[in-house]
Amino acid sequence: MIKPQHALPALALTAMVAMPLSVTPAAAQFNGVEVNIMTFTGPQIAEPLQRRAPEFKRMTGAQINVITVPFSDLYTKLLTDWATGQNSVDAAVFAPQWMADYIEPGYLVDLSAQVAADSALQVDDISPFFREFSQRYKGKTYMLTLDGDFQMAYYRTDVLDQLGKQPPQTWDDYLSIARAAHGKDWNGDGEADYGSCISKKRNAQAYWAVMSIAGGFLQSQGTKQGAFFDAQTMKPLVNNDAFAAALKVYVDTTDYGPPDEINLDVGDTRGLFTQGRCALTVDWGDIGTLAIEEGSKIKDKVGAVPLPGSERVLDRATGKLARCNSRRCPYAEGGVNRAPYAAFGGWSGGISSAAGKRVRDAAYAFFSYMSQPAQSNVDVTIGKTGFNPYRVSQFENLSHWLDGGMSRAAARNYLGAIGDSMNSPNMILDLRIPQNQRYQQNVLDTAVARLLAGEINIRQTMRQIESGWEEITDELGRGEQAQAYRATLGQ
């Protein structure tokens, strides 16, 4: 349900896009066409698709069916459906980092021509990172960005004021704030609250936070350096002092979190944060908009910073941590190396090449409609959509955010943190090599879950991840994987 303050601009903007544009769908253009779109069980991401499907049907006649599956099953369901020729899914909204596995066998349609001809999409308004990296593969556009994703650190401004602390610049700062805030009542309900809430549930979306913490320790020479592997040898960068330090931070944050934090999904930690129960969190951009939703207890009490970093970074020759200097950390500020992580790359839509032409056209028209500024500028300001800003205009024009209920100061802080992350020369790109899902969602996720459960220690965790990653690389071909990795880094 759209909020009242969004209703007027939404109606006005909907009326605007209904005007004839180059590829804007005409009324009844897709009468009788049914499009099955798969995405993950929301409510985020599925919500805006489900909410806008009826209005799209009124405009074009196309019936949009949104099919949802658990996040841990999404990659496999799509692959199985398209590879076995079942083709019950006409289009999907998924992580762009998986696209290589769908494009190489020919399951996704090349959308380059349609995007080029689509003036209503205003593709140049999509930030270069999402336009060139998240939407494209080997020079062609296969996906349409619907969401912009960067993980950041969020803090309660009122808590930091009371504690006399500054926003965290390093992970040591983060732990220090969490330690000081833990066990005190921060929302006035008489119960002790938590210093930090980070989603750590296995088989969910928790594993990105590990790399969000590790990034500042692992990558210091700019985006092209990469944070997952040595780009020449494909030796994983997960068994060294830097990764050990990051895992220690990750485990230590659990001491200041809810007792069942290792079983909390992102929806759970977001709920705790917006109820005022956490002083800090690491999350995507959703926190900023959820904080202004009805029922939030932290409206205008939230600040955001790009992911904290480290004063010591990995010396790749020795595997040890070394203190930053101008040569070792050329992008450091105040001696702190930060590496904002473009985790996930933003939920994006892709279309099955097995779908019929009218179905493909209807699916494209729907994704284009969702991404056009008229819809997108509203949706990114609503917390429950799960959509975060990704268009230049969304960063430059504060009116959408003010209309959405955010204060000017909060909007500047929120968009500033995302903008700083996106424009960082030391930003970490998501892993985009073939079968990256096995590296991260299977091996990394399982090993870290065992570490949190106390089944293995940090050294054993690193060895488990390293051997698991090496096994996949050897199976798929070290040379091919290295080539793919270097290509994504632009080397």
């Binding site: 841990s72 099953d73 496999t76 692959l79 199985t80 590879a83 076995t84 020729g85 190489e104 066998p105 020919g106 119960e191 002790a192 549930k201 296995r202 088989n203 809810p258 007792p259 069942d260 934090e261 290792i262 079983n263 096995r438 969602q441 299977n442 399982t446 879950a449 065992r450 570490l451 949190l452 459960a453 106390g454 089944e455 293995i456 054993q460 488990q464 051997s467 698991g468 096994e471 199976e475």
Partner: protein, 371 residues
Amino acid sequence: MNAAGPPPAGRWSLWADRNAGSIFLLPAAVVVLAFSLFPLLASFYLSLHRFKFVSGGFELRHVGWLNYKKLLFGSQQYHFLGTAGEWHAAFTFVVVAAAAALIFCLYRAARRGVGAAGIVGRVLAAAALLVLLLLFLRIIVTGVPGTLATTLVYVFAGGALQFAIGLGLALLCTSGLRGGNFFRVVFFLPLMVTPVGIAYAFRMLSDMSKGPFAPLWKFFGGENFSWAADPWQARMVVIIGDSWQWIPFIFIIMLAAIENVDNEQREAARMDGADAWQVFAHVTWPAVMPAAATVVLIRAIEAFKIIDLPNILTNGGPGIATESMALHAFAAWRTLDLGGSAAVAYLLLVVSVVLSISFFNLVVAPSRRLR
């Protein structure tokens, strides 16, 4: 009569008469083979291959025993077998004593005139028991259990708990207490609930921060505790949920068995001055033992396949602490590692068959002879 023999029609009729039994059985045999043997062979074939989707279909690459090697000796050893802990001197004593006891049992069996097949079976059972003992000492006592050890915990600890409570409830209901018939129905109800429903119910009940018992938990100062964050506590919660569902099964079978015991024998024992325990130990238990052994066997076979509860209640966590072998196979299948999944399923089949046959030969069959 024609010297050349009966006419062709007569011969056909005779052949049909002679083979009627086989002909009528053939469709059933084909159906059984198609639905049980073929999947068994196909999944074994799959366990020797690496499955991969390629453009236009899928590809099966022969990898030999690699999927099994990974589980037993390779990168998935921690997941399947677990991680071995330290070896204590006391373990050596326990293992040597157990081995000596098993050898003595084998010797006694040979002296009793057990045949070659029986000896081979007993040697296999003894080897399985020794492996179980080593697994218990190295993995469960000092190490980190994998899915094999976790499954065995569900089978042995869960089975023992369920049998003890199920038998106790059956004895209570046959002791002539008021309302016995009402409780027979109440005790039986959980068996009729779907395991998924039970898993969700227990997930809610065991939520210490928002569940119905949360206020009570907070009252006792447990607000900063979560059972789901501790491996052994999480396993215990799975066993409690599983027991809640399966105790009624044991209860109903044991109830029927106890009610079938000749009451005159019990009366006679009491007349002779036997107390309640003596009546149970010397009259009731010998009479119900075959039923008890059978119900334990059926329950154990079922417990090997546990998947619903750990999947929904704990999602296999924390870590992989509550993951059973069936859930391990499912998780591998979900990530398209179909060969690995089939290998786990086959190892589960081997473990459950060896233990079930051993149990049948060493416990169920002797108990029937005893009666």
